[in-house]
Amino acid sequence: MTETRAPEAHRPHTARLVAVVLAVLLALLVAVLATRDAATTRLSRSPLVGRQAPDLTADVLLNGDDFVLADERGRFVLVNFFATWCVPCQAEHDDLVRFANTHAVAGDASVVSVVFSDDEPAVRRFFERRGGDWPVLRDRDGRIATTWGVAGVPESYLIAPDGRVVAKIVGGVTFEFLEEQLARLRGVR
């Protein structure tokens, strides 16, 4: 009789132990998720980072005639892929305007946008309503997006003054985030 009772006597202890372990694991998971950076804006790995930026010579839809990325050497360029139907793209737009305006006088950084799977009238209306005087490029067959490895929008690439891709940013950007990136890349913390 005692042989059959022994395992039953241990059962509550085992259940308590399993419950404690599960609770600890759950607490760790919550802690990790609570302390990590928001998934909306993050630096992403890309084979392009560290390499010379792909050629970006495109037909300009708004704010200019022809655009050649190589002509922008000597300053940082934020290549921003966006669509007007994309909510995070709408959310980041004011920050892009602020970033472009802040660096317009010094000329040390600029923005160029590439339309991703969107129609031109919608893009025109969007810029008329929300502002932004940087070049907006057409990408009718999606070739620019594919050449840059764009999976979705918004995605942005930061190009250094020497023409190298120094960061790929997935998700909507903020003014502060972009300034932090510039400070980091300039070696200023």
């Binding site: 084979p47 067959d141 999606g142 070739r143 594919t146 050449t147 840059w148 490895g149 764009v150 979705g152």
Partner: protein, 156 residues
């Protein structure tokens, strides 16, 4: 006669393999685009190839594949170009080099090892039967038969 049967079986298998693995017709450009598209992951969707997805990114990648096929690039060159911009993870077939290359090597190695082990075991079984009746076994069987009044087995 028995060896001839095995030989015939091998010939049939060999011919079937050659016929089965040889492309009889050159694929069209559309077939190549589809084939390559099935080996490239949709950049924005989980577990779908660009051939199966209608997301803007997948459509863009399909267009890029079609453009490169039309320009005469090989399947490998196209996959390499996509991996160079989207990263290796976009390719659904594992690379043949590096640690991931083990995916290709291990099944073959396991198959060869299993076949070698089977051959070894069969050979051992044939060389030495594992159950040999001792004189005691024979005597015990004889006693049991007599006790049950069973006639001895016919030697023929």
């Amino acid at each position: 006669m028995r060896r001839l049967g095995w030989l015939a079986l091998l010939v049939v298998l060999g011919v079937a393999l050659v016929v089965g693995t040889t492309d009889r017709d050159e694929p069209t450009e559309a077939e190549r685009v589809d084939r390559i598209g099935r080996s490239v992951m949709c950049p924005t969707c989980a577990g779908q190839s660009v051939a199966d997805s209608q997301t803007p990114a997948a459509v863009n990648v399909r267009r890029e594949i079609a453009r490169r096929v039309a320009e005469g690039e090989t399947d490998g060159e196209i996959r390499d170009a996509l991996a160079a911009t989207f990263g290796e993870r976009i390719i659904l077939t594992p690379p043949r080099s590096g640690v991931a290359g083990l995916v290709w090597v291990l099944p073959v190695a396991a198959l060869v090892g299993a076949l070698a082990a089977l051959a070894l075991v069969f050979r051992r079984w044939r060389a030495e039967p594992d159950a040999v009746a001792t004189p005691d076994d024979v005597a015990a069987a004889e006693r049991a038969r007599r006790a049950a009044h069973v006639p001895p087995p016919d030697p023929s």
